[in-house]
């Protein structure tokens, strides 16, 4: 549905993106992830035909975005970053205008349906300039949905919204997936893992990784880690833990906290629990540590050494943990 091949965008002084290639299949939701300046918006602007690439090509629903631009644009809805709108127009006036530009047949119905989809029917006659950020975002989304395009490109669709609005917009995007092909960019990491079937991580204008959220998590966990906290550690605790078959490394982090690395595909929590109870060290906490999207992201986009596992640094990772027990 969407295809990008070797996209390059050079400005006079710098290269914004370099050799970006990917495919998005019909009905798929693809997430663009990357720090600011990584090239997310540039890539989207090329896909939407706002700017041509310096090299490479892209197509939307089989139409080249440069050589068959009008057909490509007819097939896509675009929500630009910061949602630029005309403040002096009414919601319904603006949507009617965009529907005219897109040559939507049965404009009135299309505008009503789009407003219904994003729940702004009650604000139809309000001036856009007087709307809150959340409502403006919805107007932008309605504009992108007007002509029921098969492809949606959303640049940071949830930025600047309050938590309830974020959930609403995510629900909307999820409900649109399946029939529509969607690319969205965000810097909120749990958002991509919740919404997207595949993630493209961009860093400094290049693709750092493309995969499913699950595969990315798995791929980056060369070895598994377990967090253990006991009440009465003894000097031989670390040694005894290291002797459990499958354990690769034990790090004592003070105050009875141990960071245990073990081989993949084996769950050592039971044997560790048994050992701790047997020796009477007083089990306080035991859980598998999964790397959060944040950590994966940091790993892929931090340049120094992309192979080192990030240390918890005394701070407990927050996402996707499994609590096993407390004593």
């Amino acid at each position: 549905m969407i295809e990008a091949q070797g996209l390059v965008k050079r400005y006079s002084t710098r290269t914004a993106i370099e050799d970006i290639s990917f495919r998005v299949e019909r009905g798929e939701i693809l997430g663009f992830l990357g720090p600011n300046g990584a090239g997310k918006t540039t890539t989207m602007r090329i896909l939407t035909g706002y700017m041509p690439p310096s090299a490479g090509s892209a197509s939307i629903a089989g139409h080249d975005v440069v050589y068959d631009a009008l057909a490509a644009r007819q097939n896509l809805g675009y929500l630009p970053e910061n949602v630029p709108l005309y403040p002096e127009m009414s919601v319904v006036g603006y949507l009617d205008y965009m529907a005219r530009l897109r040559r939507v047949s049965q404009r009135r119905e299309a505008v009503a349906r789009a407003m219904e989809q994003v729940h702004i029917t009650d604000r139809a006659d309000d001036r856009i300039g007087k709307l809150s950020k959340g409502y403006r975002q919805r107007v932008g989304l309605a504009q992108a949905l007007l002509h029921s395009p098969p492809v949606l490109i959303l640049d940071e669709p949830t930025v600047g919204l309050d938590p309830r609005q974020i959930i609403e917009v995510r629900e909307l995007i999820r409900s649109l997936g399946g029939e529509r092909t969607i690319i969205l960019s965000t810097h909120i990491l749990p958002e991509v893992s919740q919404l997207c079937q595949r993630i493209v991580i961009l860093n400094q204008g290049r693709i750092a990784a493309v995969d499913t959220p699950q595969a990315l998590t798995a791929r980056l966990q060369g070895s598994q880690r377990i967090y253990l906290e006991v009440a009465q550690p003894t000097p031989e605790t670390a040694v005894a833990l290291a002797e459990i078959p499958g354990v690769e490394q034990v790090q004592a982090q003070g105050q009875g906290v141990f960071d245990i690395q073990h081989e993949r595909d084996c769950d050592l929590r039971q044997s560790i629990a048994a050992l701790v109870v047997e020796r009477g060290w007083g089990l306080l906490e035991l859980r598998a540590v999964r790397m959060s999207m944040e950590e994966i992201f940091m790993q892929l986009t931090t340049q120094e050494d992309t192979t080192t596992v990030i240390e918890p640094d005394g701070e407990i990772p927050t996402a996707e943990e499994e609590l096993v027990t407390t004593s």
């Binding site: 706002y50 700017m51 057909a71 644009r73 630009p80 630029p84 709108l85 005309y86 965009m98 897109r102």
Partner: protein, 236 residues
């Protein structure tokens, strides 16, 4: 073309929700109304010739304000991104914006028809041929000046800058003929380029093909350049 008209319609509506259209129209009517009555009282002739000349000068001053917003504001606010990613051609955007400005000027001119009406009702018998050619000339002159304003607005995302650029270009084209007084050798060439000298014959009731072609090509040239500017913006 359909798309250009859609854009023109929105832009025209935008003129009338902001104070700009009212302020410009009011200023235009106050000045032209004052000039009309002064000229009528002093000359006691049922003629609009003097008024037409003065309107061209007023146009020089108000055209930059009518066009400064057109493309500059879209570029500043980013709405151009939505516009250019809709199935719209660049020239349709430029033409639509230009037509809106021309439409606003047409509304302003419509009010001045009352002057001819007054001449007639007061028992005068104006030379209708001259009135018609004068209005035709005004429309052509306005289309050239507003097209230049549209071009200036495409060049920047700042409305003030756009107005200054438009005014500078217009003033140069206005005064270029005056240089003929000094550079006598090139006088005819310089006068041929002048946007104001070209109007003389229209006011006197003569419609020359050369003058019509001059204004129309100036309009087309400025709009063509504006389209290219928008195109190259995509590359920046």
């Amino acid at each position: 073309m359909h798309t250009a008209l859609t854009i023109a319609r929105r832009e025209l509506a935008a003129y009338f929700v902001s104070p700009i259209a009212y302020v410009v129209t009011a200023a235009f009517l106050v000045i032209s109304g004052y000039l009309f009555s002064i000229i009528l009282i002093t000359s006691r002739q049922a003629s609009l010739e003097g008024l037409f000349f003065n309107i061209t000068v007023v146009l020089l001053f108000i055209a930059p304000f009518m066009t400064m917003r057109l493309l500059a504001e879209e570029q500043r606010s980013g709405t151009i991104e939505v516009l250019l990613t809709a199935p719209v051609r660049d020239w349709e955007v430029v033409l639509g914006k230009f037509l809106a400005a021309l439409g606003l000027f047409a509304v302003m001119l419509l009010f001045t028809l009352t002057y001819s009406l007054m001449l007639w009702r007061l028992g005068g018998n104006p030379d209708w041929g001259r009135v018609v050619s004068g209005y035709l000339g005004l429309c052509l002159l306005a289309s050239a000046t507003l097209a230049i304003g549209t071009l200036a607005s495409a060049l920047t995302d700042n409305q003030i800058t756009a107005a200054v650029i438009a005014f500078a270009i217009l003033l140069l084209l206005w005064l270029i003929g005056a240089a003929g007084n000094v550079a006598t050798g090139a006088a005819s060439v310089l006068q041929a380029l002048s946007i104001s000298d070209r109007y003389d014959d229209f006011a006197r009731g003569a419609v020359n093909l050369a003058d019509v072609v001059y204004y129309l090509s100036l309009t087309a040239g400025a709009l063509f350049l504006a389209t290219r500017v928008i195109e190259t913006r995509r590359y920046r």
